[in-house]
Amino acid sequence: MSAAPEIRAPRSTSQTGRVAPQYLRSGGARGQFEMLAWLFMRLSGIVLVVLIFGHLFVNLLVGEGIHAIDFGFVAGKWADPFWQFWDLAMLWLAMLHGTNGVRTIINDYAERDSVRFWLKVVLYAATALIVILGTLVIFTFDPCPVIDGVRHVADYCPAP
């Protein structure tokens, strides 16, 4: 990665201050981040098509379809590492994709730097919360919990 050489523009404005100051770029390009973010949106988009429509198909169309969805249905899916992984990938990709999309929208529409900053703080906090909680739920979910030594057994739980 060779940095571009300093070539003074014909009517260099950094000395004359001719360009209205609010238009001057602060420099500080964050390496490849914007390129990778752009690429990620497209790649995660492709994967999300498969994940989301697979998810909708299995939940809403297969077998009894939408009528089969209840606590037990979800519990059954999450007993299988395949669906755990599927839902985890969907959670992470959709959250990162959606967060980056909203980050772009904030960049495009927020005019003041302070507004931009605080909107992003709220966005990233919300993302972190949902991703952490979601991941925790997928991995620690127990459909037949033991609370105060009492087994809460449903008909789909293995016999004690």
Partner: protein, 259 residues
């Protein structure tokens, strides 16, 4: 007369088959956004009621307003024939060249709105400060950079190699594209379509050796990745350059260079 040329249908009835007769005339209201900081910080709209001809353009209406009604109306124009790029403005909400927009193609039953292009500081009336626009243009180094010895004759290029960047050679730097881009409107930090179009013109020129440098410049966080493919620029370009396509090609060239 060929019916195949798809000009916008005339909104003013011109008698069919009239040849050699007087050019038909009609009345219009030209509504110009006025701003003169030496007089007032307030923006106002002035209406000019003008009798114009079927062959007149918005630029002619502006001339008539300035020359016959109010000499203080300020705007830029030079060639008056769509070549110099100095009279891009917002006409009925769309970025056009005043010298290429025929009045008969507009709805003359309503006032014709004329405003300065958006996103650049207005200096007076329709005149904006173009320096931020040209600064981005300069930054992409819009000149041939070639390694090795200077040839004694011209730098020969095949027809195919010339064709590769033909579209982007047509730019007249009018700023209609950059000032139609909502990303540029927000904070003016984005390099903007025109700078990318002119970088494209050299990046894909087989005689030029500084393509990598220009790609590096446009890989900035305010570079090509800020493009949201809204196509406003392609629609605005009076030269019919496929601006969004050129931006996409530069994005791909940056990616191709990385991976």
């Amino acid at each position: 007369m060929s019916a195949a040329t798809a000009e916008p249908a005339s909104k003013v009835e011109l008698p069919a088959g009239s040849s050699g007769g007087a050019v038909p005339s009609f009345d219009i209201t030209l509504r110009v956004r006025r701003y003169d900081p030496e007089v007032s910080e307030e923006v106002r709209w002035d209406d000019f009621k003008l009798t114009m001809y079927g062959t007149d353009r918005v630029l002619d209406a502006l001339h008539k307003a300035k020359w016959e009604h109010d000499g203080s109306v300020s705007f830029r124009r030079s060639c008056a024939h769509g070549v110099c790029g100095s009279d891009a403005m917002r006409i009925n909400g769309r970025n056009r060249l005043a010298c290429k927009t025929l009045l008969k193609d507009l709805d003359t039953s309503k006032p014709i709105l004329v405003e300065p292009i958006k996103g650049l500081p207005v200096e007076k009336d329709l005149i904006v400060d173009m320096e931020p626009f040209f600064q981005s243009y300069r930054e992409i180094m819009p000149f041939l950079i070639s390694k090795g010895h200077e040839p004694t004759k011209e730098r020969i290029q095949s027809v195919e190699d010339r064709e590769r960047f033909d579209d982007t050679t047509k730019c007249i730097l009018c700023a209609a594209c950059t000032s139609s881009c909502p990303v540029f409107w927000t904070d003016g930090q984005y390099f903007g379509p025109a700078a990318i179009v002119n970088a494209h013109r050299f990046i894909f020129d087989s005689r030029d050796d500084a393509g990598d440098m220009r790609l590096e410049i446009l890989n900035d966080k305010e570079g090509v990745w800020r493009c949201r493919t809204t196509f406003n620029c392609s629609e605005a370009c009076p030269r019919g350059i496929q601006v969004t396509k050129a931006i996409a090609e530069v994005k791909q060239a940056i990616l191709a260079r990385q991976f």
